[in-house]
Structures are given as C-alpha cells and as structure tokens.
C-alpha cells in the first residue's frame, strides 16, 4: 500500500540554524515526491518536487530536498532558518507505476516553529 510518513508532528529550531523536516514514503513503484508549505489561514503553496534525475532538488524560499531511494526518504532542508519559515509542511507522494490509482498521497504534516 502507498503511504507517506512525517515522523515529527513538530520541529523547533532557532533562527539561523539549519532545519530538517523529515519525510519517508512507501510505494511499490517509482515515486514522484512533493513538498508543500501552508502558512496560517492560507492555502498550500508548492515548494519543490522530485520527478527524476538529480537527487538533490532545489525549490522556493531557499529550501531543498534530497531523494534517497535506499532509505525511501525525501527530507526537506534549509541551511539557515528564518522566523518567517514557521508554518505547516506537507510531504506528498505519487506512485508512478500504480496504473489508474496514481492519486497523490499526503503526509499528516509537520509544524515548524523557528524561534528568534
């Protein structure tokens, strides 16, 4: 069965420190992987995606993520956190080989708090 896990409900980090938001997935075939961010009282915004090619993907607002096939992970990272990065982050996966069942599977979200 396809699934996405975001093992941490909340991540706290000091401003200026590096941040990591974790995501692991389970699909039977090849994955398409996505990260979205949701600021308070807003819809979701797309950050970045992995489709194929280079395992390190760079996205909006200085975020990047590394696809690790052996560990089935797609962790979101940023070298230096800003207070304005505080938001809810969602990881999502699509199983490319799932035939007609290629729906987007969403993680439960991780709340990131960046402290001044």
């Amino acid at each position: 069965a396809q699934s996405v896990a975001q093992p941490e409900d909340q991540v706290n980090v000091a401003e200026g420190n590096p941040l990591t938001v974790k995501c692991t997935y389970s699909v039977s075939g090849n994955p398409y992987l996505f990260w979205y961010v949701q600021y308070p009282n807003r819809g979701l915004q797309f950050l970045l995606k992995y489709i194929t090619g280079d395992n390190l993907v760079k996205g909006s607002y200085g975020f990047e993520a590394e696809f690790n096939k052996s560990q089935t992970s797609f962790h979101l990272k940023k070298p230096s956190a800003l207070v304005s990065d505080s938001a809810l982050y969602f990881c999502a996966v699509r199983d490319v080989n799932a035939g007609n069942n290629r729906k987007l599977i969403w993680g439960l979200g991780t709340s990131l708090a960046v402290n001044p």
Binding site: N41, R42, G43, F46, K49, R102, K103, L108
Partner: protein
Amino acid sequence: EADIYQTPRYLVIGTGKKITLECSQTMGHDKMYWYQQDPGMELHLIHYSYGVNSTEKGDLSSESTVSRIRTEHFPLTLESARPSHTSQYLCASSEPGWRNEQFFGPGTRLTVL
C-alpha cells in the same frame, strides 16, 4: 501567486441551510480538486475532476456534491449544512499528467452553528 480563487473566505451559517462554495481558476487546468482540512491537520481529498463533465468522489466520504460545467469553475454544494461540516475547504488545480504540482486557493473556512 497562483490564479485560483475561492469565495467566500469565511462563512458562518445555521444548520439546515444549503450552501455553495465557489472555486475558479484562470490557468486553464483540466484537473481540479476539493480537500477538507481541519485547522492544522491533514488534508482529505473529497472530490476531484479531470475535466468538464467529469467528477469523482475522493478518499473521504462527504455529503457534499460538485459539478464541472466549465473548465475554470468547480463549485462544491452542501444541500443541508450540519455542525459536522465545520471545517476548512481547499480547492486546487493542476495541469494534466502525473508529475505536475497542484495549485491551491486560499480556502473557505466554514462554520455551521
């Protein structure tokens, strides 16, 4: 900023009322989606459409209905609102193909008294 709009942004309504949540996009996307999200919680897909006159129910059972008469418009209707329908409703759209990201509207926060 994605060109996808939802109205109203906030709605407080009494039990038993019929409501329609509007969603429009100007990007010409064939695929559109409705999600239900309790504040700060996971997303649940309740309806989706792959084009005009195409609608499907999502993973979460919902008493709402949708229609897709025009590419740009994907309204969601509740015939008789109940307090259990209190939630945030997010509309999204995407280009055809499985590798494309979804663009989200700002959401409608619905409260049913």
